[in-house]
């Protein structure tokens, strides 16, 4: 916390050749390689992120291209089971979309929303926390009281409420991509409290340190002190919270979509797919729900494991 430089910056200053060696020798890498499960989690995460990012190129079909989708192909079981079609490896859903492609695109949507929402929560939380900690007084009281009130509720409830309100507000405009941003907004607004609290408490400590006083003495503006000098020194814990929050954000997105108030069925996300699959469970079409479900579970488990590891690895008390 006290160090001004992040490991990357320190390495970059040493020049090109030393950087790689420095990184390879760091505690972080050692503790990473020590745990096989973490390596596995990292591999799974990378594979999924890669597959999601490359979805438009590697997916055998495009779920958005309605000309290639035929209702005649609907409800096909996976290719290896009886009645399966070799064109559709994991089978098709109720609209005849190839499940593998839909999962790839769905993972892409889930990951994008999760990352954007985490980013939004981070920006809101860090700004508010920094403001509350730096200015103190009434500003601090108001911001932290709001945070306390929100902390009384589980995140899912806050997200549901924002989602509900945003739907009513944006319904008049009725634009197609609105649901995507409503999701980002509602998840982002439900997760900012953790950042604000952490940043506020570290800002309270940093604010009285000599470098801040020095910056104040040479007449720098408040904004410049806050963002240029204090902010870099309070980001450490923020990144850890962000890593853990990505899993939460993905989970919230899936839950909202599953509840039917997230992405519409035409825009596949993992939650929407599970919602669709859930309706056909009783007719024995297990594949529509099991494959997206397994993808979601694997993704969340892997990201969670990575986040936990990062938290422990960066905690000097546990070293």
């Amino acid at each position: 916390m006290a160090s001004v430089n992040t490991p990357d910056e320190a390495g970059a200053r040493d020049g090109g050749t030393g950087t790689l060696a420095n990184i390879a020798d760091s505690d972080l890498v050692h503790s990473f390689l020590r745990s096989k499960i973490v390596v596995l989690a990292a591999v799974v995460t990378l594979l999924m992120v890669g597959a999601a990012a490359l979805a438009p190129w590697i997916a055998p079909h495009s779920p958005y291209d309605l000309t290639t989708v035929s209702l005649l192909d609907a409800h096909n079981p996976p290719a290896w089971s009886q009645g399966g079609d070799s064109r559709y490896l994991l089978g098709t859903d109720d609209q005849g979309r190839d499940l593998l492609s839909t999962i790839l695109y769905g993972t892409r949507a889930s990951l994008t929303i999760g990352l954007l929402a985490t980013l939004l929560a981070l920006v809101i939380g860090v700004s508010l926390g920094l403001t509350a900690g730096y200015f103190g007084g009434r500003v601090d009281t108001v911001i932290m009281r709001i945070a306390d009130v929100q902390l009384t509720f589980p995140a899912i409830l806050a997200a549901l409420l924002v989602d509900g309100v945003a739907r009513i507000v944006f319904r008049t405009h009725g634009s197609g991509g609105a649901e995507f941003w409503i999701l980002v907004l509602s998840i982002g607004l439900s997760l900012w409290v953790a950042y604000a609290r952490t940043v506020r408490s570290s800002t309270l400590v940093e604010r009285n340190k000599e470098y801040v006083q020095a910056a104040r003495l040479i007449g720098l503006s408040r904004r410049s002190i806050m963002f240029r000098h204090v902010l870099p020194n309070v980001t450490g814990p923020v990144l850890v919270i962000a890593t853990i929050n990505i899993a939460t954000a993905i989970l919230l997105e899936a839950t909202l979509s599953f509840l039917g108030i997230g992405l519409p069925p035409t825009q596949p996300s993992l939650g929407t797919l599970i919602n669709i699959g859930n309706r056909f469970l009783f007719s024995g079409e297990w594949w529509i729900v099991i494959f997206p479900g397994a993808t979601l579970a694997g993704l969340i488990l892997a990201v969670n494991l990575l986040g936990d590891w990062l938290r422990d690895a960066l905690n000097p008390k546990l070293r």
Partner: protein, 325 residues
């Protein structure tokens, strides 16, 4: 003690007032209340008359005061969707959710505590590792996925248990209960497990870590030196001392159970308050959303208050001046 309780009460009132303000903003400004109540062909005159009747022309502060006053008298207005008083809708749905939450909490305790004790005592046995792996899965898997998997195995695959609804219910006064019929019990098993699994893993992990800590203390060593049986030490001395934090967590989680029941109720089409809330979000039924928000906030604040005060009663160390962290 009294001063502490009063301070907490004032804080609780502040939280409730903030939530009420939020609910009011929702109620008053999101969607036009008049438009929701009248038909397409109502004349402008009638609309204005209705506006005045509803008091929408008064100053905002007066409107907010009236909103709080009505809420204190449990008057949450009329649902836009079904045109019935919101309170009636919620009261009708409440028993289902409460029964589900209580059975889920009992499940979490009944399974979680023994698992926690076992993994605490036999730290390295394979069964302990199995329990801990299960609890890791319980924490990572989304609630709705667990519900779907349970339905797939026990309803679709084995055909043992029903997958939706409450089964047969019995009316006792204003309360409908499913806990007096066989089909009611069969119906509640899967939703309760789905809802309680997260809490169960929480209890398991908590009891385990508390047990590990307590078993290292001097009085346990002394109890062993006195030649007490393992059973007396583990359950009479160790477990008893782990129970305070466990009871706290379970108390605090009760509000969470009711909030998370939203998801479980959707999966199992359980006719509770959560399902009502989801429908209100999907249909933009603002009065129901606002009422549910107030109700859940009250529940959370109330539970937090009780737990805080109980803490002080149970643990005198907190009684030192100033608020606990």
């Amino acid at each position: 003690m009294l001063a502490f309780a009063i301070r907490r009460l004032i804080e609780a009132a502040f939280v409730m007032l903030t939530v009420a303000a939020l609910a009011f903003v929702l109620f008053r400004f999101v969607g036009d209340p008049v438009n929701q109540l009248v038909g397409q062909d109502t004349s402008l005159e009638d609309r204005l008359k209705l506006r005045a009747q509803l008091g929408l022309d008064d100053p905002i502060a007066v409107q907010f005061g009236r909103f709080v006053w009505k809420a204190l008298h449990l008057d949450f207005g009329i649902s836009y969707q079904v045109k019935q008083p919101v309170l009636g809708l919620i009261i009708e749905r409440a028993p289902a959710t409460l029964e589900l939450a209580i059975v889920a909490a009992l499940f979490a305790i009944a399974v979680g505590v023994p698992m926690g004790v076992y993994t605490g005592i036999r730290r390295n046995s394979w069964l302990s590792n199995l329990f801990l792996t299960i609890s890791l899965i319980g924490i990572s898997l989304p609630t709705f996925l667990i519900g779907i998997l349970l339905i797939y195995v026990f309803s679709v695959g084995l055909g043992l248990l029903p997958s939706f609804g409450r089964g047969e219910v019995v009316h006792i006064g204003g309360w409908t209960t499913g806990l007096l019929t066989a089909s009611g019990w069969r119906s509640i098993i899967l939703p309760a497990i789905t809802l309680g699994l997260f809490q169960m893993t929480l209890v398991t992990r908590l009891v385990r870590s508390e047990m590990l800590e307590v078993l290292r203390t001097d009085y346990i060593k002394f109890a062993r030196a006195r030649g007490l049986t393992n059973r007396a030490i583990n359950f009479g001395h160790a477990l008893r001392n782990t129970l305070v934090p466990v009871i706290t967590i379970i108390g605090l989680q009760l509000g969470g159970l009711i909030a998370f029941a939203i998801i479980t109720e959707q999966v199992f089409q359980w006719p509770g308050m959560g399902l009502l809330f989801i429908q209100s979000v999907a249909n933009a039924d603002v009065p129901v959303m606002a009422a549910y928000l107030l109700l859940v906030a009250f529940l959370f604040v109330f539970i937090n208050f009780i737990v805080d005060v109980l803490y002080v009663v149970i643990d005198p160390r907190i009684r030192i001046i100033g608020r606990p962290a």
